[in-house]
């Protein structure tokens, strides 16, 4: 013991720091190798270009959506009300703003909730959050009175589909990987209403708990949801009754 103490006392602070740093370095190298392991195992010559293509398309999608939001903003500014406009024009402009709000084309804020929905830790297929799980939560939120919902920043509108792709999701054609953040704006007691739903309780006790999925929630005084950035138009339908 005395010899060990003497040896420890003999170490300089530089040596101690160096040893500590090497220890952390060792852990990081091990973690890096462990993290790379599955990717190397799954990597094949055909998958690498596919991943690159998917990444390129995702990047393009983000910039296309940003361009759409910017154009809608510019159109809104161009259409902005002339102070000398006639009452009919003022009415038209107000109707347009109201329609955009109802359609989900306007970013909104209000009281709400934010859920974080994650895969279970046991690694089984059953412990993956599926599109149906997310859809059930969304449906329950709508039924509880939510007025606007977004999943990982993708605003849901009447045409939004939520579908599985591997262990991830496609929402509004955007690729979303877990964990999923589902934000909703609605009445201040939105979460209380949700808890009162028999179907939601069945979902929690019949699916989330047995599968080990992780669902956490925060009630927000102000939830901020983006505008829908997809296509708004009809190719096969026309407004109104047939002529």
């Amino acid at each position: 013991m005395t010899a060990v103490r003497a040896w420890l006392r003999g170490l300089s602070s530089v040596q101690v720091t160096f040893a500590g740093a090497l220890l952390v370095l060792g852990f990081l190298v091990a973690a890096q190798i462990a993290a790379e392991g599955p990717r190397v195992r799954y990597s094949t010559e055909e998958r690498a270009p596919l991943i690159d293509t998917a990444l390129t398309l995702q990047t393009q999608q983000e910039s296309l959506k940003a361009a759409i939001l910017a154009l809608r903003q510019r159109i809104g500014e161009l259409e902005a009300l002339d102070p000398d406009a006639a009452a009919s024009l003022r009415r038209l402009y107000a109707d347009l703003e109201a329609a955009r709000l109802k359609a989900g084309l306007t970013a909104v804020s209000g009281p709400g909730v934010a859920f974080r929905f994650e895969d279970g830790a046991n690694g089984s297929v059953d412990a993956l959050v599926t599109a149906r799980d997310v859809r059930i939560l969304i449906e329950e939120l709508w039924l509880a009175g939510a007025e606007a919902i977004a999943v990982n920043g993708e605003r849901l509108v009447g045409s939004s589909a939520v579908i599985d792709i591997g262990g991830s999701l496609l929402v509004n054609s955007a690729y979303l990987a877990p964990p999923y953040e589902i934000k909703a704006v609605g009445p201040p007691d939105l979460y209380g209403r949700l808890q009162g739903s028999v179907a939601f309780a069945q979902f929690v006790h019949g699916r989330i708990e047995p599968a080990g999925l992780r669902l956490s929630v925060a009630e927000l005084q102000q939830a901020d949801l983006p505008a829908f950035a997809g296509t708004v138009g009809l190719r096969f339908g026309k407004p109104g009754q047939p002529q």
Partner: protein
């Protein structure tokens, strides 16, 4: 003297010379740099595109097809918006009012959002037999995924917030009981909608397997009108962000 000498020698062995001190510091700096690079690499690796590396080649191909289609639609939307912007700009430059532009934009948004009725071609799904809300919602989700532009269930226009819920025999939409026989109508490409729904292992097969006593049939329709939603009021809590 001797003891001082011994202390002095001990001091020499413990205190590094300038050269060895510099070496130690450089070593620590090198390790710290490597540590930083590895930490950043680790964090970036985790924050990158999680999930993509876990997808199979088939799933990646499916994802690429979806992204390509989605991006094409977004480009079409951008073209439409650019045309709209140019129209409004030229109208304003001529000193005219933008009534026509505003009216056209308003009609388009209202129809798309279900605020007004829509007429067009599409399909009708006839549901006969007991089915739960989950089955109907699966059908609606697949219709949206296949590009349906407007949907109505038993004459109720499906917009954001409308959910078909309930157990078999107790199904309802917007407080309207559905019973065991009703229709789902969707406007869109009849070929694409029918093909997507009825493909082998598709949603019709899945819902049919989940509800074997229920008969689902899909038929194209050349022209139909889907009504406007009855949800006419503005949102109460969601305010436009500034």
């Amino acid at each position: 003297m001797t003891s001082r000498g011994a202390a002095g020698e001990a001091g020499v062995t413990r205190r590094p010379t300038d050269a060895s001190s510099l070496r130690s510091r450089l070593s620590v700096a090198a390790v710290a740099t490597l540590l930083g690079i590895l930490t950043i690499g680790q964090l970036r690796g985790q924050a990158g595109v999680p999930g993509l590396s876990a997808l199979s080649a088939t799933e990646l191909t499916q994802l690429i097809a979806n992204l390509t289609t989605g991006n094409d639609q977004l480009r079409t939307e951008i073209g439409e918006l650019q045309r709209q912007e140019a129209d409004i700009s030229s109208t304003k430059q001529r000193g005219e009012t933008t009534v026509d532009n505003l009216t056209a934009d308003l009609e388009r948004i209202r129809a798309w959002a279900g605020i007004t009725a829509v007429t067009g071609q599409g399909i009708v799904i006839s549901v006969q037999g007991p089915i739960g809300g989950d089955g109907v919602e699966d059908l609606l989700n697949e219709l949206r995924n296949a590009g349906a532009e407007a949907i109505a269930v038993a004459g109720v226009r499906v917009v954001g917030g409308v959910v078909v819920a309930g157990t078999p025999g107790g199904l309802s939409v917007e407080n309207q009981a559905l019973g065991d026989a009703f229709e789902i109508r969707a406007i869109g490409s009849p070929q694409i909608l029918t093909g997507t729904l009825t493909r082998t292992g598709g949603v019709i097969a899945q819902v049919g397997a989940a509800y074997p006593a229920t008969r689902l049939t899909v038929a194209p329709i050349e022209s139909m009108t889907l009504p406007a939603t009855e949800r006419t009021g503005p949102p109460t809590y969601a305010r436009p962000s500034l």
